[in-house]
């Protein structure tokens, strides 16, 4: 049995996309400091795919074998055709998941989703305290999220909560889990911030300490023991704190396919940061070509592209060299071993980042929230804050 769970799978070289992530819009009413959306998202907010184009993409991906569908964004509910998309997904036999901040979810819409056959709704929550939740999202949305959670439950949906963990809420993990239990959650994903897009810009401010992390893991385990099978808790460990990288997206072009708001087809969320790659678009050659033939999808598939130390490493099947985007963003070299790996010549970049996050003057830099205004700056070339991560030592 091959089990796929949160990107952890037993078997690879499955040359079919199993997961389709539809990032239907980059528009979002929230401004989360840890958002992994591209910092230049603002340039992709005006050329979104139409309803018909989304439905065609769903149909094609399903023919190719995609079965899990995530509808995310931005905030997908800012589009008024999600009902239609959901109903079509159900007819096609997808197991579909709406990934939402909850803003814009009404009784009327959830009713339509239920009738259309949406399988579940994943709600992002941020903290148990109103202050921190509102702070990190840069909005007043805490009470609303609690109401939405109740609404999801009352419509018979499994309650899947996703909580992004960072320095500001990591000490509350025990309480966050209790809140989840009180809300009747069935699954809780405690996702430690991964540093891409906006979260990379804010890395020094968001990174927890190792002690905080250990305490949070202990609190999670204690909770698991008490609650048992009733609520499944996933604790996604931040890779900076380990010796080996994560097998990013379960392998480039192995199981995940992402279609972005404007129709670009990507093997991973942040692939667009990589230099010299041209990504296919559904409007041009279609999904089948994008997955099988496009140079971008074949570029880092398998292990052929590797250089040393990965090429001759006896662990390469475990992690496939880690994350290409992380390697590029931190070292400027997309083909080097992920800097998280202690065998990588770039490991000191991670150690420095861990050390920097402890330095008070960096910790206390202002957070840059994900807003259209800030994004425009990145589009226009105010790139200083990004470039500092490209610089090779």
């Amino acid at each position: 049995m091959a089990q796929l769970n949160n990107g952890v799978a037993a078997s690879v070289t499955q040359k079919q996309p199993l997961w389709l992530l539809a990032e239907v819009t980059y528009r979002c009413p929230l401004h989360c400091a840890f958002c992994y959306n591209p910092t230049d998202y603002d340039k992709h907010t005006k050329n979104e795919l139409s309803t018909e184009q989304w439905i065609a993409a769903l149909r094609d991906a399903r023919k190719m074998g995609a079965i899990q569908l995530g509808i995310s964004g931005g905030e997908p509910l800012l589009r008024d055709d999600i009902e239609e998309i959901v109903a079509e997904a159900h007819k096609l036999g997808y197991y579909s998941n709406l990934i939402t901040s909850g803003v814009g979810l009404t009784e009327k819409r959830i009713q339509a989703f239920k009738e259309g056959g949406l399988d579940h709704i994943q709600l992002s929550m941020h903290d148990v305290t109103e202050d921190i939740s509102n702070f990190i999202t840069n909005t007043r949305t805490f009470e609303l999220k609690k109401k939405v959670a109740a609404m999801i439950k009352s419509h018979g949906y499994p309650m899947v909560l996703n909580v992004v963990i960072h320095r500001y809420n990591i000490d509350q993990v025990g309480k966050i889990l209790e809140m989840a239990e009180a809300l009747g959650a069935d699954y809780v994903e405690l996702a430690n911030t991964q540093y891409y897009g906006w979260s990379l810009v804010n890395r020094d401010q968001l990174m927890p300490t190792r002690e905080q992390l250990n305490r949070a893991e202990a609190a999670t385990n204690a909770f698991r023991e008490r609650v048992g099978n009733k609520m499944k808790v996933f604790f996604v460990v931040p890779d900076y704190f380990s010796d080996r990288p994560k097998k990013c997206m379960n392998g480039w072009g192995e199981v995940f396919m992402i279609v972005t708001a404007n129709g670009d087809v990507l093997p991973c969320h942040s692939a667009r940061v990589l230099p010299g790659l041209e990504f296919p678009n559904v409007k041009e050659n279609g999904l089948e070509w994008a997955w099988r033939e496009s140079p971008a999808f074949n570029k880092y598939r398998g292990m052929e592209w590797m250089k040393e130390p990965c090429r001759s490493c006896d662990e390469k099947e475990n992690d496939l060299g880690g994350c290409r985007c992380q390697s590029y963003l931190l070292s400027g070299d997309a083909e080097m071993a992920d800097p998280v790996c202690t065998k990588s010549p770039n490991r000191q970049l991670i150690d420095e980042a861990l050390a920097n996050s402890q330095k008070p003057f960096l910790r206390e830099q202002p957070i840059i929230f994900r807003t259209d205004k800030n994004s425009k700056k990145y589009v226009e070339g105010d790139k200083e804050r990004i470039e500092q991560f490209h610089a090779l030592p």
Partner: protein, 94 residues
Amino acid sequence: MENNIQHSDIYAIALHHRFQWEEAQQSYVILFPEGMIKLHGGAGEILKRVDGKTSVGEIVADLKNTFPDAEDIESDILGMFDIAVGKAWLRKVN
């Protein structure tokens, strides 16, 4: 076996889980939030018969009938139920 599966037990696919045939995989799968289990051959044949009405004993008899050449499939079937209940893919109806 940890879950003490009895012939008289009746199971159904767990809430929020979906069991279906996947053409592209050429196998049965169970889908649930964030995950998928691919069921190879025999496992699919067993779970396909789990419908919230048929008892474990009836499923065993049916499979013995359908696959008369398979030896000692009863313990395999009970073992499969044990796993599926342990993983919460199935819920007990009766």
